[in-house]
């Protein structure tokens, strides 16, 4: 179990979290903390529970047991009406991008701000254009996702995750379906988000990717936290 030295500095706190899907146990007694503005990898083989963990963090799934706090919000006792508020504090990036095909890149990114209740069209336009500039998609603002390459789609997804200025960015296998150049570009953007103050949690099974960062790693196997070979857990 992680040592809880300074609760205020921790933005994510998991204590003995369990998730069952019927008879199947996806996560078992998982405990770990994430500090504010930390860059953290969660790794493990397929079926280890990485994606389930990400889903629990943004309340895509409810935990079956245990106790979890994300940015001061208690996930175990969270009502349906509170979920949008939690999700506005989190930007999520998926392996399959999850962009809305019938909306342009600009509209996909702007939707986050509209959903968060921003009314000023000029503010939305300004911020979305800045983000698209940052991710190198300004020239594709009016393009529809099906016309983009995988790397471009993922950069659009990163822009969408960052536009609401979330405290936490969760990336579930963000580079799994990308070529090395596109992966590198996406990771640079995640670094940029981290540099802007966001806490970044990335799940990946790519050891090479992890080795390129000086970041803490949480290793999962069959739904349990285990010590990663070659790395020491500091909690």
């Amino acid at each position: 179990m992680d040592q809880i030295s300074d609760i205020d500095s921790q933005i994510i706190r998991f204590y003995r979290v369990t998730k069952h899907f019927g008879e199947t146990c996806a996560l078992q007694d998982l405990s770990f903390n994430v500090r504010k503005n930390e860059f953290l990898f969660i790794t493990g083989p397929s079926g280890a529970g990485k994606s389930t963990l990400i889903k629990l963090l943004y309340m895509g799934e409810r935990m079956t047991g245990g106790y979890a706090i994300v940015d001061g919000m208690n996930l175990a006792r969270m009502g349906r009406r509170q979920i949008p508020e939690l999700r506005r504090r989190i930007g999520v990036i998926f392996q399959d991008f999850k962009l809305i095909d019938s909306r342009t890149v600009f509209q996909n990114v702007a939707l986050v701000m509209e959903a968060a209740g921003f009314k000023s069209r000029s503010l939305i336009r300004e911020r979305v254009e800045d983000l698209l500039e940052l991710v190198g998609l300004a020239h594709h603002a009016e393009a529809y996702p099906p016309t983009l390459s995988g790397g471009e789609k993922q950069r659009a997804a990163v822009a969408r995750a960052m536009v609401g200025k979330p405290k936490i960015i969760l990336a579930d296998e963000p580079t799994a379906s990308l070529d090395p150049d596109a992966s590198e570009r996406v990771l640079r953007l995640l670094r940029a988000a981290h540099a802007r103050g966001a806490t970044v949690v990335i799940t990946t099974h790519d050891r090479d990717l992890i080795s390129r960062f000086d970041a803490r790693v949480v290793y999962l196997e069959s739904g349990r936290r285990v010590d990663s070979p070659g790395r020491e857990e500091t909690g």
Binding site: R81, P84, R87, I90, K98, R103, E114
Partner: protein, 292 residues
């Protein structure tokens, strides 16, 4: 609100095909129901027009003198609901009958004498609109000692009214059933729209949208579908009406009556109903769909 409307319109245009199917369904349903409405409203007006033209004929007993007949016509004229009374001596009545028969009037030449009695022809006031009021007036005239029999289009009017009332009840039940059927058709079509947008809705939720942000534009889309379907249905009915009714109009046969299109109040009611159907259909689908 403007933002919700903008998003609804944008979604409406983005999913043109399914919205088009739904709009067509509503338009067709509105067309059918409105056509029924148009028929019944005009049938009602037609009956009213006929009733206005109803005249009561009181046949007098053979022993009634001309003087008594004139006295009776004066007293009947004073009855409530009587507009005019004409005394028709049997000679005049026979001449009128001959004229009406035209070429067939030779049939009357075989008769021995004039079989017609003297009569009073009574025209009820225009405000006597119900069949019951005409019945009461005719019964009162029939009770006079000088009157042998009273005749008016009583049975015919009653039968027509009976059929009309039966149709009206049937139509009301059918309209109710059609309303429910349309609502479920719309609900299912909207559910198809929702299924086609399931991923989009899920993504919108993940990025932090609350239920209101997702639902309100969908409700508004339902209302817009209802309104546009209603307008299209009425427009279609008007086109069909304009193309066919001038050829069907009874015109000279019934000078009191002219087939008319639905009035503005009825059209407004139809549009409000179709918007309600759109909204309810949406409400049912969303409740089932977003519960998951």
């Amino acid at each position: 609100m403007i933002d919700v409307f903008r998003r609804s319109l944008s979604d409406f245009l983005r999913h043109r095909f399914l919205h088009g199917v739904c709009l067509f369904t509503i338009a067709l349903s509105v067309f059918i129901v409105s056509a029924f409405g148009l028929f019944f409203i005009n049938a009602g007006s037609l009956m009213e027009a006929w009733q206005k033209g109803v005249r009561i004929t009181a046949y007098l007993k053979p022993d009634v003198t001309r003087q008594q007949a004139v006295e009776l016509s004066k007293s009947v004229k004073e009855y409530d609901g009587v507009d005019e009374v004409s005394y028709i001596p049997k000679k005049e009545g026979f001449a009128w009958l001959k004229k009406q028969l035209g070429p067939q009037s030779s049939l009357l030449s075989d008769l021995e004498g004039n079989p017609l009695p003297d009569a009073l022809e009574i025209g009820p006031e225009e405000n006597i609109k119900t069949a019951d009021a005409v019945d009461r007036l005719a019964a009162k005239i029939g009770r006079q000692a000088e009157v042998a029999d009273v005749e008016y289009a009583q049975e015919w009017l009653h039968r027509f009214r009976g059929i009309y009332n039966l149709f009206r009840v049937t139509a009301a039940v059918m309209a109710g059933l059609v309303f429910v059927a349309i609502m479920f058709i719309v609900a299912n079509t909207i559910r198809l729209i929702l299924y086609s947008r399931q991923e989009e809705i899920e993504i919108t939720r993940i990025i932090g949208a609350d239920e209101a942000f997702i639902k309100y534009p969908l409700y508004l889309e339902g209302v817009m579908l209802g309104l546009s379907g209603g307008l299209a249905g009425l427009a279609l009915l008007y086109v069909v009406f304009s193309a066919t009714v001038p050829k069907l109009s009874p015109g000279g046969l019934l000078p009191y009556f002219q087939i008319t299109f639905l009035g503005p109040e009825i059209m407004l009611l139809i549009l409000i109903s179709s918007m309600l159907v759109g909204w309810l259909g949406c409400y049912i689908s969303i409740r089932r769909f977003l519960r998951v």
